[in-house]
């Protein structure tokens, strides 16, 4: 049966390599010139517990998964029990008959195959993938190529096992190849990391915390290729302070964390605001309060990110929806943070961070390069906080011959010396305010609000971050306009109002129960008529949203 859209779920116990297996499945589908989305679901533990991944592919861009799958690859009985109900009408379970005793479908005797091939237990996944490729009608040559690329050190033994299972299975589908060149499948974390590198990142500092730990891991390995310094210090407090120290000494630096770590960073976020030191913070949301659901997803830190830190100071908050936006806006966030000497927050979530997406971006995409240190007009000593019309002072970093560079957490004069004078305090507050306004003006150069859907639509669906992927797909069959503010602070109010102009009804879709984007919209004079919310840690699926949007649209 030829299929355009196709989903496969692979499940097993934590520690059985489901993550690696899904990377191989991603790569197989990519090789066929298909667009891929991968959802990875795992509990917060190392061994045992149930892990599964859904690899969905199609001949159009996709950014979310469906409830239904066409094939379930079961390494254990629990996978059959939990997921057989997801099978589509023509769906089939492919299972390891050595460990799964009750299932209908295609049985692969992996114990026997492994024994005969003298293969280690870890090749079990390759067996199921081999069987899957036969079921999906993937030519063996493609399987061979992908295994050699994905598991170069142990390709032979894995291929022997995969081939035995390939031969033991039978074809049920013909997953269609396209003639498009294959696109790489990246996780959001990887796209963020690469975007930062593209933006000129020199130092990355982080304390591990799901869902952004893999930015740290990825960059720590990538450092060998790209002259990066990657540091994992004692706490998130140290992380962000080190980042400001490095920025003061001239290095483009980013940090990564989740809500809990960001809580620890807030005092220093405010220091960045006062001292006018740039930093990019990758803030991966996961459900709270507190430790919450560490390996699941949500959109609950928008207002926190917006208000974190004592005092009033400008900041940039950007919420990309997929890997293409993540790459672009990570690079831009670095650029803007440095140009305006402000902290920038990349507000993402577990769904984007750890999900896999076909990347269509061009790595060479234009980003503005950091301007050379501006020489001040006129004479006189260097003033770190020179009062300028747009509030942006020429930033020099140490060492700078002839300049004494003083940054200060206290209110300060132009030279960076502590002051308490009322008039000068006012001048400095207003300098920072003007800087925020200048940042907002600079953002007008960019598409800060994305709009999708037919121009005649009368209903708008507003969403942000990774949720937009599911919304776009669910709305595709409906007469609605999808509106996505990509930049959330400074809020692009004018662009947003233009994007919702002409709509009679607005629905806001977000993964929280306080309606954080909705509150922000209201602040800028745009109310909502209905809301679709989810707060169980799981992302919206297409099916889920189609049903829920139908109720309110």
């Amino acid at each position: 049966m030829p299929v355009e859209e196709f989903s496969v779920l692979i499940g097993g116990r934590a520690g059985e390599g489901i993550n690696k297996a899904s990377a191989v499945l991603n790569h197989l589908m990519a090789k066929l010139g298909r667009y891929v989305y991968m959802y990875y679901d795992y509990p917060s533990l190392i061994r045992g517990g149930h892990n599964f991944a859904i690899v969905r592919s199609a001949d159009q861009p996709i950014r979310t998964h469906r409830d239904r799958v066409d094939v379930v690859l079961a390494l254990n009985q629990e996978t059959v029990r939990l997921h057989a109900g997801r099978l589509s009408a023509s769906g089939v379970v492919v299972y390891d008959s050595s460990s799964v005793k009750e299932a209908d479908g295609i049985a692969i005797p992996l114990d026997q195959i492994l024994k005969e091939e003298k293969a280690p237990a870890i090749t079990r996944n390759s067996g199921l993938i081999g069987a899957f490729c036969r079921v999906a009608g993937v030519p063996w040559a493609v399987v061979d190529e992908v295994f050699r690329e994905e598991i170069p050190a142990h390709a032979e033994v894995n291929l022997r096992v995969a081939r035995r299972a390939y031969d033991a299975a039978e074809e049920r589908f013909q997953v269609e190849a396209t003639d498009r060149p294959p696109l790489p499948v990246l996780t959001g974390n990887e796209a963020i990391a690469l975007g930062l590198v593209r933006g000129g990142l020199e130092t990355y500092i982080a304390y591990p915390m799901t869902p952004t730990s893999n930015v740290l891991h990825f960059l720590a390995e990538f450092a060998e290729r790209s002259a990066l310094t990657v540091v994992h210090p004692e706490s998130e407090i140290a992380v962000i302070l080190m980042a400001l120290g490095a920025a003061y000494a001239g290095k483009r630096t980013a940090v990564g964390t989740s809500g809990g770590g960001f809580c620890l960073m807030t005092e220093t976020l405010s220091l960045a605001g006062m001292a006018e030191l740039p930093a990019v913070i990758v803030l991966g949301q996961r459900p709270g309060p507190s430790t919450g659901l560490p390996t699941y997803s949500c959109q609950t830190e928008l207002l926190f990110a917006r208000h974190a830190g004592q005092g009033e100071f400008p900041r940039l908050i950007v919420a990309p929806a997929d890997v293409d936006e993540a790459y672009l806006w990570s690079a831009r966030a670095l650029d803007l943070a440095w140009r305006f000497q402000v902290p920038a927050i990349l507000l993402v979530d577990k769904t984007l961070c750890e999900g896999g997406y076909s990347a269509s971006f061009d790595p060479a995409v234009e980003v503005v390069e950091p301007p050379a240190p501006t020489e001040e007009p006129g004479e006189g000593p260097y003033l770190r906080y020179r009062l300028t019309p747009d509030g942006v002072s020429p930033m020099r970093t140490v060492p700078s011959p002839g300049a004494v560079i003083k940054v200060n957490s206290y209110e300060h004069d132009e030279a960076g010396i502590t002051i308490e004078d009322a008039a000068l305090s006012t001048a400095m507050q207003e300098k920072r305010r003007r800087k925020g306004e200048a940042l907002a003006r600079a953002l007008e150069e960019y598409a800060t609000v994305a709009v999708y859907g037919p121009p005649e639509a009368r209903v708008g669906v507003v969403s942000w971050g990774s949720t937009v992927g599911a919304v776009r797909e669910a709305a595709a069959g409906m007469p609605v306009r999808v509106v996505q503010p990509v930049v959330l602070e400074p809020f692009p109010a004018e662009a947003f109002r233009a994007a919702v102009a002409g709509l009679d009804r607005l629905v806001v879709v977000e993964q929280n129960w306080t309606g954080q984007l909705e509150q922000l919209m209201r602040l800028h004079g745009v109310g909502a008529d209905a809301r679709v919310q989810r707060y169980d840690g799981r992302p919206f699926t297409v099916d889920d949203l189609v049903a829920r949007l139908a109720e309110v649209v």
């Binding site: 290729r225 002259a227 000593p381 004494v404 560079i405 200060n408």
Partner: protein
């Protein structure tokens, strides 16, 4: 401010008799000597915490990062990671770096990051008007403990030797020639230099008489030693609470690769982001 003036025009607001003046003048002279001897002025960076000690950032005419309470060390570490050629000096308070930011102190020693930490140990929170700190003696009647603190003090010198600092010394603002030597040594030392300086708080904890009476010098023929066990024995002579003589001088010095040196060993690759990303794309397709 004009480069070259090591004292800024900021109005000084330390109390008359404050121990910080002695430290300020020693630093001004020593940094001046370093610059005269060829260290480019722009390569010197001062990082301060929040407290009376922190005002050093306003008063000394060098690059400075006036940070937040307890957090000089991670800022200084970030600066060193970014540029190992810089001379980075932290002026921290005892409340600041033994209380609020103690974890960073341990990690600086553990990493042997090449910075110099000068702790202005007046054994009281000066700026917040007289509460006990981790080095106040048992029973100290501070404003938050009017009946006397129920806690034993911490012995930072002992702690630093145990945690891996590679230079550990103690000075006193009323023993200026020695203090100047210690500051010079601490700045010269490669690796984490810990220099605790006893200074009186003229307003909230004036211990001049006690220090004058109890301070004694380490035998310069014997110290600093690289023998941590011997250094620890001396460090434990006075526990910051009991009546005892107070040994001053450089206790401990050893050499060990610095954090920045080890980090730099791992730095490789090219600075062509587009090329490395394109290579990764090729591997993934």
């Amino acid at each position: 401010m004009a480069a070259g003036d090591l004292i800024t025009s900021a109005a000084n607001t330390w109390c008359p008799g404050c121990g910080n003046f002695a430290i300020e003048h020693a630093l001004k002279d020593i940094l001046g000597e370093m610059i005269a001897a060829g260290t480019p002025a722009e390569e010197i960076v001062l990082v301060t915490g929040i407290g009376c000690h922190g005002k050093m950032a306003d008063y000394l005419g060098v690059n400075s990062f006036y940070a937040i309470h307890g957090r000089t060390i991670p800022v200084a570490t970030g600066i060193k990671i970014a540029n190992p050629d810089l001379t980075v000096l932290c002026c921290a308070g005892d409340g600041d770096c033994y209380g609020e930011g103690l974890e960073h102190l341990l990690f600086a020693a553990k990493r042997n990051v090449d910075i110099t930490l000068l702790v202005h140990d007046n054994r009281v929170y000066g700026l917040t008007t007289g509460q006990y700190t981790p080095t106040s003696p048992l029973g100290f009647p501070g404003r938050s403990t009017p009946q006397g603190t129920p806690e034993y003090p911490l012995n930072p010198v002992e702690l630093m030797i145990a945690a891996g600092a590679t230079y550990v010394a103690r000075g006193y603002t009323r023993r200026l020639p020695q203090l100047r030597e210690l500051i010079r040594d601490a700045l010269r030392h490669r690796g984490f230099s810990f220099l605790e300086v006893f200074q009186i708080c003229a307003t909230f904890y004036n211990q001049t008489a006690y220090y004058d009476e109890h301070a004694c010098d380490l035998d310069p023929g014997e110290f600093p030693t690289a023998d941590a066990a011997r250094a620890l024995r001396v460090a434990r002579e006075w526990d910051y609470s009991r009546e005892s003589r107070i040994p001053l001088g450089a206790l401990y010095e050893t050499t060990y690769p610095t954090y920045e040196e080890r980090l730099a060993e791992h730095r490789a690759g090219t600075r062509d982001p587009v090329a490395v990303i394109q290579r990764l794309f090729a591997e993934r397709t």
